[in-house]
């Protein structure tokens, strides 16, 4: 059923503090809309949970990237294009900019925001596994307070988050300690552009004296939430990359994920692909390590 615009309100107070006070006055009543790449689709389908929307698109407080010596703070309202064009983000957080380039086409990248992706919480979102492996933190704001939360704790279940009804995500903080890691991102989908992933992987690894000193793996579309593969990381960490380890890691990954059958793929296929993607990453990490020595 088509939505009737006459039945919806859209406020655009223009500043972050004005938006937050609106949310504080009637918590849960107002639905924030940034670039609309998710919200407008829900709206057109008549599936929005609210008839009162408040625009946070292009709020200057949310549309900046701050760089400090230790971290990069990406405003939640930054678009995928903003991320891809930012010199430091694209150099040090290549998993994130690679995923940004996978997301929709150019028009969607010009409107879709990182904060929107985080809030929407789709387990299939390509950018979220990258945030997991970089151990991003979120700054959440309301009219009353500001708090910082590990992104890894943000999603509690399928499309459920720890965001309070009067809060917004203000920024996504990325620690700059991973720039020397080997980074590998892989999407498996029906088509490169405009196709949602069947499985996607974000991975970071570091070899020291031929052994895996540190490894971080996260996948999309394999569980109700974007998933960090902690068990697979555990079996790999500290070991040398040999055929047996690759096999064990693949098996562990396939067992650790919780995929389902849906319109894009099947659980069985996803298990096989998840194992293969982990194997591919370890092989490449091993080659990169040898070249490094």
């Amino acid at each position: 059923m088509r939505a009737r615009p006459a039945e919806y309100e859209l406020a655009a107070p223009g500043t972050l503090s004005a938006v937050l006070s609106l949310l504080a006055q009637e918590p849960g009543e107002w639905l924030p809309i940034a670039g609309g790449t998710d919200v407008m689709v829900q709206y057109c389908a008549g599936r929005l949970p609210s008839r009162k929307l408040v625009s946070i698109w292009n709020l200057p407080e949310l549309r900046r990237i701050e760089v400090t010596p230790n971290e990069v703070r990406v405003g939640a309202g930054c678009t995928y294009t903003d991320l891809r064009q930012h010199e430091i983000v694209s150099r040090e957080f290549v998993l994130l900019t690679t995923a940004a380039g996978w997301t929709g086409g150019i028009a969607n990248q010009n409107r879709g925001t990182l904060g929107g992706n985080v809030i929407n919480g789709s387990p299939a979102a390509d950018s979220l596994p990258a945030l997991l492996v970089y151990e991003a933190e979120l700054i959440l704001v309301s009219a009353k307070r500001e708090r910082r939360l590990a992104y890894g704790d943000f999603h509690t279940d399928y499309r459920k988050t720890r965001l309070a009804p009067d809060e917004l995500v203000q920024s996504i903080c990325l620690s700059r300690r991973f720039s020397e890691y080997y980074a590998h991102a892989r999407k498996v989908g029906a088509r490169n552009a405009q196709a949602i992933s069947k499985v996607c992987l974000a991975a970071l690894g570091r070899l020291v004296e031929g052994a895996v000193d540190d490894v971080r793996l996260a996948m999309g579309s394999v569980a109700p939430v974007p998933l960090r593969l902690r068990e697979t990381e555990r079996v790999v960490r500290g070991r040398r990359i040999k055929a047996e380890l690759i096999q064990l890691a693949s098996k562990t990954a396939a067992a650790e994920i919780r995929p389902i059958d849906d319109i894009r793929s099947t659980a069985r296929y996803r298990e096989a692909v998840a194992g293969n993607l982990v194997a591919e990453f370890l092989e490449r990490l091993s080659i990169a390590g040898r070249q490094h020595e």
Binding site: T37, I106, N108
Partner: protein, 165 residues
């Protein structure tokens, strides 16, 4: 829903469309696409999927390529909008339109306006794009007729002629 909720207030929104300032009285959640087509009569912009998947409704907002089906008109307030109607100068087609004709880049025509706007946006960023860049720049625009090759060739030719602006 058993009963429709009451209508909300309309508002006055000023837009600069293809260089002309226009004021529309509309609901803030009206899609930019519908305002262009139905209120301003600019039916060159097409609706395909209505979900941001196909790119048929692509327009430029302040020089940035967007899917107009996903933009509530209030968010385009005071912005400069470019639609396919804004590219030709009188009877003289834009170089991209001419090249699409020459190379067979347009068949049924539904994707063409969006495809040309996406190409226009690409050339504004990268005046002589590689084939790879063209494919990426147009990857959000679906065509069911041409198989894309003629479209990519048309855009590449405009880049070679340096005539994209």
């Amino acid at each position: 829903m058993s009963e429709s909720p009451p209508n909300r207030a309309k508002c006055e929104i000023s837009l600069q469309v293809n260089g002309k300032v226009v004021a529309v009285r509309t609901y803030p959640m009206e899609r930019l696409l519908d305002v262009l087509r139905e209120q301003l009569g600019l039916t060159g912009t097409k609706e395909g999927c209505g979900e941001g998947e196909c790119g048929s409704c692509s327009v430029l907002v302040d020089g940035v390529l967007v899917n107009s089906c996903l933009v509530p008109v209030l968010q385009a307030k005071d912005a400069k909008i470019t639609t396919i109607e804004g590219l030709a100068e009188g009877e003289r087609l834009h170089a991209l339109q001419q090249a699409f004709l020459e190379f067979g880049g347009a068949q049924c025509g539904i994707c063409t306006p969006g495809m040309i706007l996406a190409a226009f946006h690409l050339l504004s960023k990268s005046p002589q794009p590689t084939t790879e860049e063209i494919r990426e720049g147009l990857s959000g625009n679906l065509c069911r007729c041409t198989g894309y090759a003629q479209i990519v060739e048309a855009v590449a030719e405009v880049g070679r002629r340096g005539a994209g602006g």
